[in-house]
């Protein structure tokens, strides 16, 4: 069961939804023969939106209509994963849209970071659900939005749903240029380490789609990549530059790998649940 996936490492225009949605549409048309077209976090709004998060927010239905109006994606083959500012019951979320001809869903970022250069939680509410998505051909995927991936419970929970593929959309600024950087920002290496470990532990393909370009003085790293269920990076996109790449992953292979993965097979989520609860109780009572 082969999946052809287009990874679009975009450089969105900050706050220009009309421009960005057109770029998305062109790429969805261009990769019309793929099963999935993936874009980075907040790919239709730009990353440092601040108060624009509110100005640009729309419901996922409105977003689906806007996207369809420009790209006709509902009548084409690929499922689309793209970032947008989502309005839902009065709150605004940093969301990933997951849509196809049959389906329009979203993942609301669970952990909008507020440290260092990040200030997302000031502008975005926290999502509270981790739902897998089933694509047209029965492929089950999980989607995580950047900082979400640094919370290990989320990929773990997804693995309990038995997903075949995890898509991590990101807007990761290049940081760490010390003498040991060896040509690549330090946090690019940290991302690669993290993703490789998850892929290996949970027997998954992981598609990491980071953005490129520059906003308010910040350079985004690019370096999107694909990791196979053994944890090997099998495809890397260029550093910093806008780029696109089509990769083919074999879900059957991932399932075989997963069946042989003893970490997963012997993992006891109920023990995790019990012991977590106990640990939290002990911590509370300390």
């Amino acid at each position: 069961m082969k999946q052809k996936i287009a990874i679009c490492q975009l450089f969105p225009k900050l706050g220009d939804f009309a421009y960005n949605i057109n770029v998305h549409s062109e790429l969805i048309k261009k990769y019309g023969d793929c099963d999935m077209v993936c874009f980075p976090e907040l790919s239709t709004s730009g990353y440092f939106v601040k108060d624009l998060s509110y100005d640009l927010a729309m419901t996922k239905e409105e977003f689906a209509n806007e996207l369809d109006r420009c790209s006709n994606y509902k009548k084409t083959k690929p499922s689309v994963i793209a970032g947008f500012s989502e309005r839902f019951e009065g709150n605004v979320y940093n969301s990933l849209f997951v849509g196809s001809s049959e389906y329009a869903g979203s993942h609301k970022k669970i952990y909008p970071p507020t440290y260092g250069l990040f200030d997302e939680y000031r502008y975005f509410s926290c999502g509270e659900r981790i739902d897998p998505f089933t694509l047209k051909n029965g492929v089950r995927i999980g989607v995580l939005n950047c900082e979400d991936a640094w919370h290990q419970a989320l990929p773990y929970i997804y693995s309990m749903y038995g997903i075949d593929l995890l898509v991590i959309c990101a807007a990761s600024p290049a940081r760490g240029v010390g003498a040991k950087a060896e040509g690549s920002p330090w946090n690019v290496k940290l991302w690669q380490r993290l993703i490789s470990s998850y892929a290996h532990l949970y027997g998954l393909y992981i598609i990491y789609v980071n953005r490129a370009g520059n906003e308010d003085g910040v350079n985004f790293s690019g370096c999107s990549c694909v990791v196979n269920p053994l944890g090997d990076i099998i495809e890397t996109l260029p550093q910093f530059d806008q780029a696109e790449r089509v990769v083919e992953v074999d879900i059957k292979k991932a399932r075989i790998e997963k069946a042989q993965n003893c970490y997963l097979k012997e993992d006891d989520p109920f023990l995790t649940l019990r012991e977590l609860e106990r640990a939290m109780r002990v911590r509370r009572e300390r």
Partner: protein, 302 residues
């Protein structure tokens, strides 16, 4: 001087160079401009910025501006020319002597009026009218005259003013507000002086410029390190530990890792100069106050 392990300040020059050229290219071109101009002092900071701008935008889109005052050393002028020639950009020269003198001549009587109005002499026993225009204020006047020049040229030519203040200067507030600190973008504001020098050597900034003692050249014999009372290596190391590593200044002094006088100086300057790194304060009245509750990115729809 206490020996500090300066290797912690080492940078990956190739990577930093790549990030900075992209920064300039993106941030300039996004505004619809494709040209920049900068003051060329003959020092290493403006030399490095010139080199990066040239790589980012091409030599024909970068203009250096030499702005000497009558007391500026001839060496500074020569070095500025050497920098422009080595990196292959064009430069122009605008002598600010006339403008500064014209201003100062008018300023003395105005300054006296202003000082009298606020009863300065009553408040300060050491106050003397002739000290209104002293070394310090002359430095500010020159820096602001240069700013005036650059922004005039920017409006005339459609080129963006690029800043050259480094992280050490910005943290210590060793610069003139609305003077040399004024710019559209600043590619070197996150590099300590030592890191900036490392990158300059990598980029091929002329050795004579790299080797000389940094100076604002506001009066003969002035050096930055003389003004500040510490060497850049000392300052960079202490600032790195306090700012980048977020270490408690008291603890690194107690453990003997950083000299007390140095740490105290850095903390005092960082704190008291915070205003120079901010937009002016606005009195909050509404629910949508600029910079408090009306927050938009600078690159809004660019």
């Amino acid at each position: 001087m206490k020996k500090y392990d300066l290797s912690v300040l080492g940078i990956d020059c190739k990577l930093v160079f790549e990030l900075l050229t992209r920064f300039i290219k993106n941030e300039v071109e996004k505004t619809g401009m494709n040209k920049v101009l900068l003051g060329l002092s003959g020092g290493v900071d403006s030399a490095l910025v010139a080199f990066i701008c040239k790589e980012a935008l091409g030599a024909k889109n970068v203009l250096g501006v030499r702005m000497p005052y009558k007391t500026s050393s001839s060496e500074s002028l020569e070095h500025a020319e050497l920098v422009a020639k080595t990196c292959g950009i064009d430069y122009i020269t605008c002598d600010i002597t006339g403008a500064v003198e014209g201003f100062v001549n008018g300023e003395v009587s105005l300054g006296a009026k202003c000082a009298n109005f606020f009863d300065r002499a009553k408040l300060d026993a050491n106050f003397a009218m002739e000290k209104i225009v002293n070394r310090h204020s002359m430095g500010n006047i020159m820096a602001r005259m240069r700013m005036l020049n650059l922004y005039h040229l920017s409006a005339a030519s459609g080129a963006m003013v690029v800043g050259t203040s480094n992280k050490t200067e910005l943290l210590l507030g060793y610069g003139t507000l609305h003077g040399d600190m004024a710019c559209g973008i600043n590619p070197v504001g996150d590099l300590y002086k030592r890191q900036l020098r490392e990158l300059s050597a990598y980029m091929g900034v002329p050795r004579v410029v790299l080797a000389k003692k940094p100076s604002a050249d506001l009066f003969p014999g002035q050096t930055d390190e003389g003004d500040l009372g510490f060497s850049y290596d000392e300052l960079d190391y202490a600032l790195y530990r306090i700012v980048d590593c977020r270490e408690n200044p008291k603890l690194i002094v107690e453990s003997g890792e950083v000299e007390a006088r140095l740490a105290e100086f850095c903390v005092r300057r960082i704190t008291s100069m915070q205003f120079k790194r901010q937009m002016p304060l606005i009195a909050l009245l509404s629910f949508r106050t600029i910079n408090q509750s009306f927050n938009y990115p600078r690159d809004w729809a660019l």
